[in-house]
C-alpha cells in the first residue's frame, strides 16, 4: 500500500486544518455573542480535516488501473516556472521602477520567453507590443479612467 499525490495533499491539508483548529479554540470569546469568533472557523476546519482524512483514505484504497496513466498531452512545466518567475520579478520591480518601465520589461521578457524571436523584425514586433501595452494601458487608466498606477521609488515616475 503506497501513498499517492492525493494522499500527500490530503495529509498536508489535514495537518494544516488541525493546526488551525487548535488555534480557533484559543480565540477569545465575546460576552455579547453566544458563539465566539472561533465557532464558525472550527466548523469549516472540521469539515476540511474530515474531507482531507477521507482523501488520504481514498488514495490509500484506490487501485489505479494501467489506464490511469493515460495518454496525457506533452506539457512543458519549464515555461510555467519561467512565467511565474517573470511575473514575480514584475511584482518586485513595480514599486521600484514604476508601472511604465516595469510593464515594458515584463511584456518584453515574457513574450521572449514564450516564443523567442528569430529575426530583427520579430524583435521589433516584440518591442512594439511591450511599449504599446505599457503606453496604452498607462494612458487609458491614468489619463482617461483616472486610475492611479504604481510609481517607482527609484525612477520617481
Amino acid at each position: 500500500m503506497s501513498i499517492g499525490r492525493d494522499g500527500i495533499t490530503g495529509l498536508i491539508l489535514f495537518a494544516v486544518s488541525l493546526f488551525l483548529l487548535v488555534k480557533s479554540f484559543q480565540l477569545p470569546s465575546l460576552p455579547i455573542v453566544p458563539v465566539g469568533p472561533g465557532f464558525y472557523p472550527a466548523i469549516v476546519l472540521s469539515l476540511l480535516a474530515a474531507a482531507s482524512a477521507l482523501l488520504v483514505l481514498q488514495d490509500l484504497l484506490k487501485r489505479c488501473a494501467p489506464a490511469c496513466a493515460g495518454d496525457a498531452p506533452r506539457r512543458s512545466y519549464r515555461l510555467v516556472v519561467i512565467a511565474f518567475a517573470i511575473v514575480g520579478a514584475y511584482v518586485v520591480l513595480l514599486p521600484l521602477v514604476g508601472f511604465r518601465v516595469a510593464t515594458v520589461l515584463f511584456v518584453g521578457a515574457l513574450q521572449a520567453a514564450l516564443g523567442r524571436p528569430q529575426t530583427a523584425r520579430q524583435w521589433g514586433v516584440l518591442a512594439a507590443i511591450a511599449l504599446g501595452t505599457a503606453m496604452v494601458s498607462y494612458f487609458v487608466f491614468e489619463r482617461y479612467l483616472l486610475v492611479l498606477l504604481p510609481r517607482g521609488a527609484w525612477t520617481g515616475f
Partner: protein, 507 residues
C-alpha cells in the same frame, strides 16, 4: 414594471452607457473567440476599466462581455474545432463538421442568430421572474439564507468534474480564506499571526483574479509547444460562402420547440449556482438529440445541435443574472466578478437590490437586452476580423492579460498588497488545478463565506435552538435538497466507478 424597463432602455441608450456596453460586447466577442481565453478571464481583463466608470456603465460593460463572450466562442468552435470558451463546447460537435462540409458561414451564423434569439427569450424570464424570485428571497430569515448558501455549495461541490471529495475540500478552502482577518461580528483577528499583510483579510477580487486568471494562463502555457488541438484541420483564414440570413433565421424558427426548450434548459442551469455555460450547452445539446426526429445526424453538422447549444448558452447568462440579482449568489465565475464590481461601487446585491436600486437593476436588464443587437452588429460588421483573431498567439496574449490582471488588483486600493495577494493566489490556484481540485467550489466558498458566517451567527443569536435549521419549512427543504445533491453525486460517482470496473478487461 414595463415602465421601469422602458426607462432602463432609454437610460442605457445614452452614450455614456451605450459606449461601455458596445465596447464590452466587442471585447467579449473577441475574448470568446480566442481559444484559451474564457469569458471569466475576459471579464477580469475588463474589470479595471470599470473602476473609473459610473456603476451602471461598468455593469453594462460587463454584461456586454458576458453576452458577447457567450457568442464569440462559437467562431473558434466552427473554424478550429476547439471551443473558444467552455460555454460553447457543444457547438463544436456540429459546428465544425458543418464548416468542414463547406458551410462555415451557415454554421457560424446559425450559432449567432440562435444566440440572439435564445438570449432575448431568456431576457423575458430575466425581466419578469427576477422580481418574484427576489420577493420569495425577502421572506427568508438567517436560517433560510444559511441553508440556501449550503445548498449552493453542495450543488457546486457535487457537480465537480473530478470528485465530490475534492469539490468539498475546495469549498472548505474557499470558506477558510474568508475567515482570515477580523471576524465580522466582534472584529477579533483570526489566523493573522500578527502579520499586517493578512491583518485585514484577503481582498476578494485579487484572490479571484489570481486563482482564475493564473490557473488558466499557466495551464495554457504548458501546452504552448504542443500542436493546438485539431489545428491541422483548422479553417482559419477561410472565406465564408454566400448564404441568406433570412434562410438561417427560418431554419431556426422552423423549430420553435427546440429553441424554447434549449432556452429553458440554459435558463435553469444559469439559475442554479456556479454550474456554468458549458453544462447548459451540453445538456441542451443532449436534450435536442433526444427529442430530434433525426438523432443520427447529430455530430455530422446538424443545425439542431448548433441551435440548441448556442440558444442555451446565451439563455444561461440571463439565468445567472437572475440568481445574482434575486439572491445575491453568483450564478457563475463571471457574475462573481460582477458581484465584486458591485461591492466596489457600494452596491449590495440580493433580494432588496431591485427595490433599492431600480435604476441599476432595470439598467442591467436593458443592457442585457441591448447587448444582443450590439453583438449582432459587431458580428455583421467585423466577421472578417473575428475569423482572423482566432490565430493570435498565446505568447502575445498572456503578457497583456497578466498586465491587466495586475492593474485590476492594484487599482482596487492603490496598494501593492493586493498585487502580492494576486500573485500568492495565482500560485495557489495553479497548484490546486494541477492537483485536480475544481476551482468553482472554492470561488463560491470565497464569495459566500462571510454571508454564511453572518447568517449562522444571526440565527443562533435570534434563537439558540439548532433544530430550527431543519424544522423551519423552507430552511429544512433547502438542507434536504443539499443532502440530496450530495447523495446524488455520491451515487453517480459510485455508478461511474462500477461501469469502469465492468468495462475493464480481465488480465
Amino acid at each position: 414594471m414595463l415602465d421601469l424597463l422602458w426607462n432602463g432602455l432609454i437610460n442605457i441608450a445614452q452614450w455614456k452607457y451605450l459606449l461601455p456596453l458596445f465596447a464590452g460586447t466587442f471585447i467579449g466577442v473577441i475574448g470568446g473567440s480566442l481559444p484559451g481565453v474564457t469569458i471569466t478571464m475576459t471579464v477580469i481583463v475588463v474589470l479595471p476599466f470599470t473602476y473609473g466608470l459610473d456603476p451602471l456603465a461598468g455593469l453594462a460593460a460587463m454584461t456586454g462581455v458576458y453576452v458577447g463572450g457567450s457568442t464569440g466562442g462559437l467562431i473558434a468552435c466552427c473554424l478550429l474545432g476547439i471551443p473558444g470558451s467552455p460555454s460553447s463546447i457543444a457547438t463544436t460537435f456540429d459546428g465544425f463538421p458543418m464548416a468542414r462540409n463547406g458551410e462555415p458561414g451557415r454554421a457560424i451564423w446559425l450559432g449567432v442568430w440562435a444566440s440572439v434569439w435564445g438570449g432575448l427569450l431568456g431576457a423575458l424570464f430575466l425581466v419578469f421572474l427576477t422580481g418574484p424570485l427576489a420577493a420569495i428571497a425577502l421572506e427568508f430569515g438567517p436560517w433560510e439564507y444559511f441553508s440556501l448558501f449550503v445548498l449552493a455549495m453542495a450543488m457546486v461541490a457535487g457537480l465537480s468534474e473530478s470528485s465530490l471529495l475534492k469539490g468539498l475540500i475546495s469549498t472548505a478552502i474557499g470558506l477558510l480564506i474568508t475567515v482570515v482577518g477580523h471576524d465580522p461580528i466582534g472584529s477579533v483577528p483570526r489566523f493573522t499571526f500578527g502579520s499586517a499583510f493578512i491583518g485585514g483579510g484577503f481582498p476578494f477580487l485579487p484572490v479571484l483574479i489570481g486563482i482564475f486568471a493564473f490557473a488558466q494562463i499557466m495551464t495554457d502555457l504548458e501546452k504552448l509547444n504542443s500542436p493546438r488541438g485539431q489545428a491541422a484541420e483548422s479553417l482559419v483564414g477561410v472565406k465564408l460562402e454566400r448564404f441568406s440570413h433570412l434562410k438561417v433565421n427560418l431554419e431556426i424558427f422552423k423549430q420553435p420547440f427546440l429553441l424554447a426548450w434549449a432556452t429553458i434548459v440554459g435558463l435553469i442551469i444559469g439559475i442554479l449556482p456556479a454550474i456554468g455555460g458549458s453544462a447548459s450547452s451540453v445538456m441542451a445539446y443532449d436534450q435536442a438529440k433526444k427529442f430530434s426526429k433525426t438523432p443520427d445526424r447529430f455530430g455530422k453538422g446538424h443545425p439542431e445541435g448548433i441551435i440548441a447549444s448556442e440558444a442555451s448558452n446565451n439563455a444561461n447568462v440571463s439565468g445567472s443574472l437572475m440568481t445574482i440579482m434575486a439572491f445575491g449568489i453568483p450564478g457563475d465565475a463571471v457574475t462573481a466578478v460582477m458581484l465584486g464590481a458591485m461591492t466596489i461601487h457600494g452596491i449590495q446585491s440580493g433580494p432588496l437590490f431591485i427595490s433599492q436600486n431600480p435604476d441599476i437593476a432595470y439598467g442591467i436588464y436593458a443592457a442585457y437586452i441591448l447587448a444582443h443587437p450590439c453583438m449582432l452588429l459587431i458580428c455583421l460588421a467585423l466577421m472578417p476580423l473575428m475569423l482572423r483573431v482566432t490565430s493570435v498567439p498565446m505568447a502575445v496574449l498572456a503578457p497583456v492579460v497578466l498586465v491587466l490582471c495586475v492593474v485590476g488588483a492594484y487599482a482596487l486600493n492603490n496598494t501593492m498588497q493586493s498585487v502580492y495577494v494576486l500573485l500568492l493566489f495565482g500560485v495557489v490556484g495553479y497548484v490546486l488545478v494541477k492537483l485536480g481540485f475544481p476551482l468553482a467550489p472554492l470561488i463560491l466558498g470565497l464569495i459566500l463565506g462571510d454571508q454564511i458566517e453572518i447568517n449562522l451567527v444571526r440565527a443562533i443569536m435570534t434563537d439558540a435552538n439548532p433544530w430550527l435549521f431543519l424544522t423551519r419549512p423552507i430552511s429544512g427543504l433547502l438542507l434536504l435538497a443539499a443532502a440530496t445533491s450530495v447523495g446524488l453525486a455520491i451515487w453517480q460517482h459510485w455508478r461511474h466507478q462500477k461501469r469502469i470496473a465492468e468495462e475493464a478487461p480481465d488480465f
